[in-house]
C-alpha cells in the first residue's frame, strides 16, 4: 500500500518537473531529495556567497570546508550548521518569507572571520 502511494507521488513529481525520460533510479532520488546547492567555505569566504531561493521551495545546502572548522548561520531564518573539515554537512532550507537575509560564519575562524558573510535572496 505504502509503495503504491509513493509511486503515484513520483509520477506527479515527474510530471511537474517535465522529466519524462528519467530512469526509475532517478525517480527515487528526485522524490527524496530536494535540489542541492553546494557551498564551499574557506578562510574567509563562501562560494557562492549569494544563494537564490524561491519562497516555499525547499533546497538542500551542502557544505564543505577547504581548511578549518566553520559555521553557517542565517539568524533571520533560524537555521545554522557546522562545517567540519573532511565532512559534508547538509542543511534543508525552506523560507516562507521573501527578502534578503544575511548569513554569517558563527565559528571563529581567524583574522578575516568578521568578513565571512553572504546573503540568501528569497523571491516569490
Amino acid at each position: 500500500m505504502k509503495l503504491k502511494s509513493r509511486g503515484i507521488k513520483l509520477i506527479v513529481l515527474a510530471a511537474v518537473l517535465g522529466t519524462g525520460l528519467v530512469s526509475a533510479g532517478d525517480y527515487a532520488s528526485v522524490q527524496t531529495e530536494d535540489p542541492v546547492i553546494k557551498i564551499v567555505a574557506k578562510k574567509f569566504d563562501y562560494t557562492p556567497n549569494e544563494i537564490k531561493l524561491k519562497k516555499g521551495v525547499p533546497v538542500i545546502l551542502e557544505f564543505t570546508t577547504l581548511d578549518v572548522f566553520m559555521g553557517f548561520k542565517v539568524p533571520d531564518l533560524g537555521v545554522r550548521a557546522d562545517i567540519i573539515p573532511g565532512k559534508v554537512s547538509r542543511l534543508r532550507l525552506v523560507s516562507d518569507k521573501v527578502g534578503t537575509f544575511p548569513f554569517v560564519c558563527d565559528v571563529f575562524c581567524g583574522s578575516g572571520h568578521e568578513n565571512m558573510t553572504g546573503t540568501i535572496v528569497v523571491t516569490e
Binding site: 557546522d82 554569517v104 560564519c105 558563527d106 565559528v107 571563529f108 575562524c109 581567524g110 583574522s111 572571520h113
Partner: protein, 298 residues
C-alpha cells in the same frame, strides 16, 4: 558619599565626564539619600586589540592603549580595581605572534598604578587555540571574586570557537550561584553579549540564554561586557547588560550599515568613539553609575 561626589565633581570640572548611565530599575535618588551606603568604583577597559594594524581605522594603534593607561593613572581618585573585558590582543593565525602580542599587552598594562586588575579573553585572544596561549599569561578564563559585598563572576564565552559557554561552565555557574544568597549583589563580566544582540553580525552567545536563565532567580544582577566596540544598554527581564567602548576602533550600531566594518578614523575628532568607563557601585541598592570617559581629554 562625600568622597565620591568630590570625585565626580572633579570629573565634571576637568571635562572628563561623558554621559552618566544609571544601571538597574530604581532611580539614582536613593543613592544620594544613603550616606552610609557601601560604595566603591572600578574601571572597565575593553577590546584593546593589541597588534591590530589599520591606519584608516586607527593611525595610533600603537599608542591608544598606552594613552588609556595614562588616562586611568591620571584619575584623581584611583579605582578599587580595573577589569579588561576581552579582546586584549588582535587575532593572528601564528601562535608565536599571539604570545608576543599577549606579552606586549601585559607589559603595557603593568604600568597601571592600580595593581588589582582582572582579565578575561575575547574571541581574538582565545578562539583559535581554546584559550591556551591566553592562559599561559593570564590564568583562568572563568572565575569569581568578591569585593566589598559584590560577587563578581567572569564568564568565558570565547574559548570555545562556537561562542558557547558550554555545559561544564554552566554547571560551574549554577553551583556558584546556588552558594550565593538569593539577593546577593552579582556582577557578571564577559566578552560577548549573553543575549542575541545582533546575531547577523555574530553579536551573541550560542548558549547565553542558559546563563541568563541561571541568573534570573537573583534579583540583583548586572552584566558588563565588550565585543561590540560601542555602548549598548539592554534589559533581559530585570538584568541589565552594558557593553563598553573599544580602545582600538568603534563598530557601527547594530544593523546600521550592511557590513560590520569598523568606523573610519576622523582626523578632526581623533579617538572619537573610543574610551573606557568608570563604574560606581552602590552596594546597598545594587545600582551602578556608569560614566564614559575618553582616551584623551577633548
Amino acid at each position: 558619599m562625600e568622597k565620591i561626589l568630590d570625585r565626580r565633581e572633579f570629573l565634571k570640572l576637568s571635562g572628563l565626564a561623558g554621559v552618566v548611565f544609571v544601571s538597574g530599575l530604581a532611580g539614582c535618588s536613593s543613592m544620594a539619600k544613603r550616606s552610609d551606603a557601601k560604595e566603591f568604583y572600578f574601571v572597565q577597559l575593553s577590546d584593546t586589540h593589541w597588534g591590530f594594524k589599520g591606519p584608516k581605522v586607527n593611525p595610533d594603534a600603537e599608542g591608544t592603549l598606552k594613552k588609556a593607561v595614562a588616562a586611568v593613572n591620571g584619575l584623581a581618585q584611583q579605582p578599587d580595581f580595573i577589569v579588561f573585558t576581552g579582546d586584549l590582543t588582535h587575532t593572528t593565525d601564528d601562535p608565536q605572534e599571539r604570545r608576543k602580542r599577549l606579552a606586549e599587552f601585559r607589559e603595557i598594562v603593568s604600568e597601571l598604578k592600580v595593581k588589582k586588575v582582572h582579565f578575561m579573553p575575547g574571541e581574538h585572544d582565545a578562539s583559535l587555540d581554546h584559550g591556551e596561549a591566553y592562559q599561559e599569561f593570564f590564568g583562568k578564563t572563568h572565575y569569581t571574586f568578591d569585593h566589598k559585598g559584590v560577587h563578581f563572576i567572569v564568564l568565558d564565552n570565547v574559548s570555545d570557537p562556537t561562542a558557547s559557554i558550554g555545559e561544564a561552565q554552566l554547571q560551574w555557574l549554577a553551583t556558584d550561584l546556588n552558594a550565593q544568597p538569593k539577593d546577593a549583589r552579582i556582577v557578571v563580566f564577559t566578552h560577548r553579549p549573553l543575549f542575541d544582540l545582533y546575531p547577523q553580525w555574530d553579536w551573541a552567545t550560542r548558549d547565553g540564554d542558559k546563563a541568563i536563565a541561571l541568573l534570573m532567580p537573583h534579583p540583583n544582577v548586572t552584566v558588563f561586557y565588550g565585543h561590540i566596540h560601542q555602548e549598548n544598554h539592554h534589559m533581559t527581564g530585570h538584568i541589565a547588560h552594558h557593553s563598553a567602548k573599544s580602545l582600538i576602533f568603534p563598530l557601527p550600531a547594530p544593523g546600521s550599515q550592511p557590513k560590520r566594518t569598523p568606523l573610519p578614523w576622523d582626523a578632526a575628532q581623533p579617538y572619537k568613539g573610543l574610551g573606557y568607563r568608570d563604574i560606581e557601585a552602590d552596594v546597598q541598592t545594587a545600582q551602578y553609575r556608569i560614566t564614559e570617559l575618553p582616551v584623551v581629554k577633548g
